[in-house]
Symmetry: C2
Subunit: 224 residues, 2 copies
Amino acid sequence: MAEVGRRAPPRHEAELRVRAEALAGRTLGEIARALGRDARAAPGVRTKGRAGDLVERALGASAGSAAEPDFPSLGIELKTIPVDADGRVCESTFVCTIQLARIADESWADSWARRKLSRVLWVPVEADRPLADRRIARPLLWTPSPDEESALRSDYDEIASRIGLGAIADLTAHTGLYLQVRPKAAHGRARTSALGPDGEPLAVTPRGFYLRPTFTTLILSRYL
Amino acid sequence: MAEVGRRAPPRHEAELRVRAEALAGRTLGEIARALGRDARAAPGVRTKGRAGDLVERALGASAGSAAEPDFPSLGIELKTIPVDADGRVCESTFVCTIQLARIADESWADSWARRKLSRVLWVPVEADRPLADRRIARPLLWTPSPDEESALRSDYDEIASRIGLGAIADLTAHTGLYLQVRPKAAHGRARTSALGPDGEPLAVTPRGFYLRPTFTTLILSRYL
DNA sequence: ACGGATCCATCATTGGATCCAG
DNA sequence: CTGGATCCAATGATGGATCCGT
C-alpha cells in the first residue's frame, strides 16, 4: 500500500525512466498538487530540501538513508540539482555524511560515497524563484565514466587519508578537485566523534562529501 | 528565562514543597489552564504520559533524562502515580530504562535505578476519568527507609545478575518482590543491544525497571 | 565564487506512563 | 490482576539541500 502523498516505488528502471521523463517541463507546484500536497512556503520559512522531497514522492523514492539509495531495489540514487534559466548549475551537491571515526578503515571501493554515486538520477530544477514556480528540466540517469570515477577516487583517497591521519581540524573545503568536504549539520553546535592524531576521540563539526559545481556541470553537459 | 508553559525551577526544596502542596485538590484541567495549555484530549487519542508532563511543567521540573533527575539541583525525581477514588494505587510505576549491555558492571550503589529512587516527589493523580477532570491528592516527598532500600537492592541484584549471565531472554516480570522488569518501548519492533550467555551481542526488546503497586502502596500509606 | 554555516521535514529515540487480553 | 504491549509529546539525529558573508 502506497503512503499518502507518495507514489508506489517503480518496479524496474524503465518505469523510473518513464516517470522521470514525465516530470520534465512541469513545475513543483503542479507536482505537489498531483500528490495532494502544497508547494507554497509559509512567510519567512525557507524551502531548503523541499524540492528534493517533492521529487522523491513524485517518483516513488523511499525516504532514503545512509545505507541505502533512494531506490534500493534498483540501486539508484536520486539528486535534484538547482540550475539557472540557462541550465547552468547553481550549487554544489551534497553526497553523504562522512563517518569521521571510521573512514580510515574504508577504501573508496566500499565507501558510502562511491555507492551513492555509482548510479544517479539527476533531476535539474530551476532555482531563484518561488518553490511552486520552479520548473523541472530533463532528468538524466548517470553512471560515472572510468575517468570520472578515477577522479573521484583520487579526491576521496586524499581526503580519507588526511582524516585517517587525524588532521580533520586542518581539512577545509579547498581540498579535492571535484569531491570536497564541507560542514553538514543543522546548526553550529552539532558535534560528532572523530579521531585525533594519536587516535584520541575528538568532538568536531559533522562533515559531508559534496560535489563541486564544475563536476556536476560536466555531467549535465552530456545533454548540451 | 522560563520556557512558555513551564514554571521556573524551584530554587530549593522548601520552594518545591510549597508548590507541590499547592497542587493538592486541584484538577489537571485547572493546572493546564494556569499554564496556558489544554488538558483536553482529541477524540481517539490516548493521554498516557500527559498527566506527568503537566505536573512537571507546573512544578518547574526539567524535561528529564536518564542521567539526571527532574530537579537536578535538588536531586529529586518527580513521579505522578495513578490512584482510584479511595486513594489506592492503580498501576505499577516506571523507574528507568535498563542498559542491558552494561548492567553486569554496575552495582546497585551506582545504578540509575538507585539514583532515581533515592529521593522522589510522589504526586497521586486520580485515574479513570477524563484527563482534565483528574484531581491531584496530597504529594509526598520520600526517601527509602533502610528496609525499603534493602528490599529494592535485593530485587535489583537478582535481576542484574541474571541479565549479567546473559539470561535476559528468560527474565520475565515475575522476578522481583517490589522491583520488576518489563518491556519499555514505543512498539513491538523496537530493539536494543544486550549480551547473550557467551557475551555475544543480542538484539532484544528494550526493558525498564518498574515498581510493583504493592510497593508504592506501602509508600503512600505513610499518610493513611 | 565558494567555503562555512545553516534551514526544513521526517524518522528515531527517550521520558512521560497506561492499556488490555488472558 | 498483572505481564507484556503499547501510546503521546518532546527532543535529537538524519536526509533533503540552500544561504550568504567575504
